[in-house]
Amino acid sequence: MLTETIRDLVAAHAGLPAGAVLEDDTDLYRAGMKSFASVQLMLALEEAFEIEFPEEMLTRTTFRSVAAIAQAVETLAPGKLAA
């Protein structure tokens, strides 16, 4: 599942405090993700899904939540969601 993979990557890279509750729509910035962590997360997503985020998608909105990231990945690589 795409969302599961994204959740794992968020857990590994977003630098959230231990025990943070992570729903699909949890605001990652509010949960404590800082700018360096968001860069690490973005690079990990590119690696895992073999995608490249175009510059116009590199906004805070794109990485705000697991759901937002899933939507972005789906836009960039439509096949990945089903796989």
Binding site: L16, R30, A31, G32, S35, V39, L43
Partner: protein, 391 residues
């Protein structure tokens, strides 16, 4: 409601000139005594410059960021401290205009800011976060519709002279350090206990003392937009543009002083180009680069404002580069002018003196340290996927 508009019949340029003249007149004593540029700020109030950026529908004149930058530069040329006070005030004003219109309390403050020419300061640094704007330890404590806030701020520039202080804090006591809000504390509802005194190399009139700040207010005083978004979308860019404009003004006045000296030499020796004239031209060339970079970044800012969906990454990189480039180059320009002016520039109190300029401009690389900015730009370059030039 009838727009208030400017009460004086003079043009913006005339009002700026009047405030600049007052700032210049008192620049020496402001610097020597490390005192607030009260006369200059009073002149800004008289010229209704403090509320000039407020949109006309809220009583102001809707001045553009380019107009604010130009005022910063003119004031900075006369008195860097006065220029920086104006710049920092306008950064807070921009936050209020951009982010506060959803709150009735903030809309009312905006009207008052124009009518009473209120002066805004900020408390964005905090002891214990290592100078990181984007982290807070202190938290807003809400009790129904009221809140209290206590913050230990190593620097609050002109905190004692301000009518309101914009402070960053965690959203609530359970929020992580990066989940910040921007809170407006009115001077009559906050206490400032000074614990360090600003006795610095330059920018002495900014009175950037350290304070233990305690304040309270109603929920409407907490700006609705998360501070992370305020910083990313507007505050960082506006800060770098207005600070850079002040520094450009300082460098510009140093070049003007060196130019006057070289011209005086030329008059004494007709028929020969003074040996320092090419050095003057070199300093002037670097000043033009500074001014060109600022103008280009102002244009980019307006372009980004017109296309809210466009990439914020290029803009952030451009603003980081602006800050680092201008803060470094302006120092080089002033230093070059000192070499041109020689002892005439080194001595205090004369028409060609450059000591104050040199001391003031040394703050530029430190105001958000360039190392920190380069680290942040380095991160952004890792994720940029297009060549690092404008398409």
């Amino acid at each position: 409601m009838k727009p208030l508009g400017p009460v004086v019949g003079e043009s913006l340029a005339e009002r700026v000139r009047a405030a600049v003249a007052v700032a210049a007149e008192h620049a020496e004593t402001v610097d020597r005594d490390g005192r607030f540029p009260a006369e200059a700020v009073q002149a800004m109030r008289a010229g209704r410059l403090l509320g000039v950026a407020v949109p006309p529908e809220h009583g102001g004149e809707g001045a553009s960021l380019a107009e604010l930058a130009s005022i910063c530069s003119s004031l900075g040329a006369a008195c860097a401290s006065a220029g920086m006070v104006f710049a920092m005030h306008q950064i807070n004003m921009a936050n209020l205009i951009d982010c506060g219109l959803e709150s009735a309390w903030c809309r009312e403050l905006l009207q008052r800011a124009v009518a009473d020419q209120l002066l805004f300061a900020s408390a964005t640094t905090e002891a214990g976060v290592g100078g990181d704007l984007r982290q807070s330890i202190c938290a807003v404590e809400c009790d129904g519709q009221r809140f209290t806030l206590a913050k230990t701020a190593p620097v609050i520039s002109y905190g004692e002279q301000a009518d309101a202080i914009f402070a960053t804090a965690r959203r609530d006591p359970d929020a992580p350090s990066s989940d910040q809000v921007l809170v407006v504390l009115m001077a009559d509802a906050c206490q400032l206990e000074r614990f360090t005194t600003w006795d610095a190399l330059g920018m002495r009139g900014t009175c950037s003392h350290g304070y233990r700040l305690k304040g309270e207010g109603e929920a409407g005083q907490i700006l609705p937009k998360p501070f992370a978004d305020i910083a990313a979308e507007s505050m960082v860019a506006i800060s770098h543009l207005l600070w850079s404009s002040v520094w450009a003004g300082v460098a510009g006045d140093a070049v003007a002083r060196a130019q006057a000296l070289v011209t005086a030499e030329a008059k004494k020796q007709p028929g020969a180009l003074p040996p320092s004239a090419p050095k003057l031209a070199e300093a002037f060339t670097r000043l033009r680069m500074i001014e060109g970079t600022i103008a280009e970044c102002l244009a980019r800012w307006e372009e980004a404002r017109a296309n809210p969906g466009a990439s914020s990454l290029s803009l952030a990189l451009a603003m980081n580069a602006l800050k680092v480039a201008v803060s470094t180059t302006a120092l080089e320009v002033v230093d070059a002018c000192l070499m041109i002016a020689g002892l005439q520039g080194y001595k205090n109190g004369g028409p060609f003196s450059l000591g104050r300029h040199l001391r003031d401009i040394h703050s530029a690389r430190l105001m958000i340290g360039n190392d920190r900015i380069l680290a942040s730009a380095g991160q952004l370059l890792l994720v940029q996927r297009k060549p690092a030039r404008k398409a």
